[in-house]
């Protein structure tokens, strides 16, 4: 059963990710991203990280993809003209991809993976909270500032010019 679920979610994630890469319509791409995220969330559940799956769906599916769709509608972009990519880019992409695939394939043979064996029960919400508020307190604070400047940045970048007129 677990095997079947893994293959199902993995396939879902991969196929819909392929959709993101190849689809001509940005709306389809965004929907592909959404499906891919669902697949990844399923994998998270299989990995005993249900909380992460939940957060992923909440943040990504709920906010990020919605934001993408919203912007696509707002900008009303036309379909991508099917111009061939410049040859150099194609070569670079193929080379880069080939290198990565070779690397991944050789992983199976060469890597000494020190898998310690998974424990039966996954971490609970409490475990996360303990970590976040003890060891990782400083990064949490920093992320707070990160979100603050991101918010300020969005405001600065998208406030209408005539409103932003300042008399400093």
């Amino acid at each position: 059963m677990a095997n079947f679920l893994f293959y199902f979610f993995a396939l879902l994630a991969l196929v819909s990710a392929g959709l993101v890469v190849v689809s001509k319509n940005p709306v389809n791409a965004a929907l592909g991203l959404l499906l891919s995220l669902v697949g990844v969330a399923g994998l998270f559940v299989l990995l005993n990280a249900a909380l992460l799956a939940f957060v992923l769906l909440l943040v990504y599916a709920g906010a990020v993809v919605a934001l993408f769709l919203f912007i696509i509608m707002l900008l009303d972009t036309r379909l991508e003209p099917s111009k061939p990519s410049p040859r150099l880019t194609l070569i670079a992409a193929t080379l880069g991809g080939a290198l990565l695939v070779v690397g991944v394939l050789s992983l199976n043979q060469r890597a000494i993976l020190l898998a310690g064996g998974a424990s039966g029960t996954g971490p609970t919400l409490k475990h996360y909270a303990e970590q976040l508020f003890t060891t990782y307190l400083l990064p949490v604070q920093l992320v707070g500032f990160l979100l603050l400047i991101a918010m300020l940045g969005v405001i600065v970048l998208s406030k209408k010019s005539d409103q932003a007129e300042e008399t400093l």
């Binding site: 934001l67 912007i71 990519s85 991101a150």
Partner: protein
Amino acid sequence: MIIDLPHYLLLSAVLFVLGFFGVLLRKNTLVIYMCLELMLIAATIALAAFSHFNDTLDGNVFVFFILTIAAAEVAVGLAIIVALFRQRGTVQVEALNHLRH
């Protein structure tokens, strides 16, 4: 056959490569941006898998941070794309060649 760490790693790597291809090949900046998100997500799969099979929590906690950061990145990125669209009326990469002229 037992689903083990290498399976997850392979999946993560393939997803990462897919996203990488998308960034290089696509012309629509919005789609490019989605592909970048795909790359980040691919990394989180590997992270969660390592975390699970090594029985350490740190990887999962890191995923939290990555998700937060990615959301912030998306917000800023979309703001820039929208602002550029207002000026140029397009989000295609070909239109991004006005510098150096």
